[in-house]
Symmetry: C2
Subunit: 356 residues, 2 copies
């Protein structure tokens, strides 16, 4: 079957031919419809995040897949069910995190991630998955259900951020998303449900499709070249919640200055090594005297997928149309991996959702 993989020493993914997987009892064989591409895929392609499956010199990409059950084996799924797989799998047998349904909280070494860390992904005509790692997706989401996986990461980050503020009365009225990539815009759309006063930071010139989306969501675009994060309060006021979705290392600390008292910063982006100076005494003191919190969040699991299904289902049509800028055929997927300012979210299509 056709698969899209990155090879050691190569800069761009390419189409390869691999054997069609055969499901074991308890597993489901899924025919892939579409697979979204995100920043993590670009990090995997560059070799800065995750790792190839042991013994292989290539990795099949893809962790945002939507597909149709073709062989449910012994599971409760039916042929034709629309499903999405979660990303993490136990590396050997199982462990406590998987047993209690919280693989997203497993530490390094206690998970692999399909398409990211030490395991092949879903960017192929078929994939198999144990039934417990599949989420059923409503038919209406067949075309853009691949947005559920990245949205589930935003759901988890916000759940954890809100949890940090659960010991007191906290009703956030303003929010800032750092980053106008796909994850940033999805997070912004999710936050629009909770708060009216929304900001999204980027560093793009107008006209730009991500800025258009930000403004159609009723949010204010903040150009970080004109208004660096620590200056946001002077320009726009402090925010109750901020979500870092760029992986820019300094944001984790700068964001403390953007937060209102009792605010929380959620960190989703994954930066590389970088040492720099901070006003550590002042930031530390203000975290204490203003009861501020900072929380890192990675990955997501079934409950976050379920929340994300609800959120993605409620997204306005214009948002989905505008954020998904290109769906390319699996036979020639290179355009899905191009990075230019016209692209926001791309996906690779194996089977057209309208022709299944």
């Amino acid at each position: 079957m056709r698969a899209i993989a990155v090879h050691r020493g190569e800069e761009l993914p390419r189409v390869i031919d691999v054997p069609t997987p055969e499901p074991e009892p308890g597993e489901v064989l899924v025919e892939t419809l579409r697979v979204g591409v995100d920043g993590t895929d670009h990090e995997v392609i560059k070799g800065t995040h995750g790792g190839f499956p042991p013994g292989d010199d290539y990795q099949i990409l893809g962790h945002e897949a939507i597909g149709v059950v073709v062989d449910p084996t012994t599971t409760g799924f039916d042929v034709g069910d629309l499903v999405m797989p979660t990303v993490r799998r136990p590396p050997n047998g199982t462990n406590e995190y998987f047993e209690r349904g919280e693989p997203d909280m497993a530490p390094d070494g206690q998970y692999v991630e399909r398409g990211i860390v030490d395991a092949h992904g879903y960017m192929s005509e078929y994939f198999t998955s144990p039934a417990e790692f599949l989420v059923e997706i409503p038919e209406s989401l067949a075309p853009h259900g691949f947005l559920v996986e990245p949205m589930s990461n935003a759901e988890k980050a916000l759940e954890h951020a809100y949890a940090t503020r659960s010991a007191f009365t906290w009703e956030p009225e303003s929010a800032l998303v750092l980053g106008n990539g796909p994850l940033g815009l999805l997070t912004l759309a999710r936050l629009a449900r909770d708060v009216d006063d929304l900001y999204c930071l980027g560093r793009r010139d107008r006209p730009d499709p991500s800025i258009d989306i930000i403004e159609k969501l009723g949010a204010t675009y903040v150009d970080s070249r004109e208004t660096p994060v620590p200056e946001i309060p002077a320009e726009h006021g402090h925010v109750d919640i901020a979500v870092e979705a760029t992986g820019y290392a300094k944001h984790a600390f700068e964001v403390l200055d953007a937060l209102a008292p009792n605010g929380v910063g959620a960190l989703l982006g994954v930066p590389g090594d970088w040492s720099f100076e901070i006003e550590g005494g002042r930031l530390h003191r203000e975290m204490v005297l203003q009861n501020k919190a900072l929380v890192g969040s990675v990955n997501s699991h079934i409950p976050h997928f379920e929340d994300a299904i609800e959120t993605v289902s409620s997204l306005p049509d214009w948002f989905v149309d505008d954020i998904v800028t290109e769906v390319v055929p699996a036979e020639d997927p290179s355009a899905a991996f191009e990075r230019n300012t016209d692209q926001i979210k791309t996906a690779v299509e194996f089977v057209s959702p309208s022709e299944r």
Copy 2:
């Protein structure tokens, strides 16, 4: 009446004579038994934290008071009730934080703190307080009930730290307290209820009374001169929860290295300005990939006092005897403000609890 105050331009507090306060209806007149001294008092004396009441060139110290109701006016208290006042008061009228019983979450400008920020404290023969800011203390705590206020700060910090981890299954098994001063030791004693594997960081040579307390609590003393915070995991393993109680600015960031995956650092100490370099990219990345959290916490209110009453009531007698190293008479209180390694927690006595 006799009061103990710090004066502008003077390095040490001294005894002064001020009018005995007269309670308004709804207020309670309290005769002071004992008032604890802590690190915040030393910061107030040095002038590095808080501020004098507007218009005064002196500030009556003290925010850890225990006393006896002598005039309950129109309140529900009775003459003879043992009470402790909370610390924060509304600056003008009231505001939303006080109205909903969460003055500890009020931002700068929306509170004063008796004995700390813009208001006189309780280190005087009598003080008044609105009834709503008084907590009744069991008779058994008359001698050392002044420990309830600092313990209530630990209770709040731990409540907020645990809240950050409430979105998933989290059972902390190890804890590290940074700081072997009174607040650090009280926090350590509180944590001993929750976890078995306990560490406390200090920089003292043996023999030292705080190290003795650490070890009698079953905790391991970590000398920061031999084992700096980032090296604690190599020496002792990672910890699930860490509480910063020194105000050393770098700890807020170093503590991230000491935390196990899914761990939380609670910040209680108040550092001054200091800029320094950190491995910000790595720390930010690890917060994300390991789901770590950092939370600042200041002050406390009635529910935390109530938790603290329970905790202080359950402290072993040896702990109370060992941590309260000196109780000095209000007529000559200078020894309560001396800082030497033999002193841990001191208090000033106005009326002996046994002679009331």
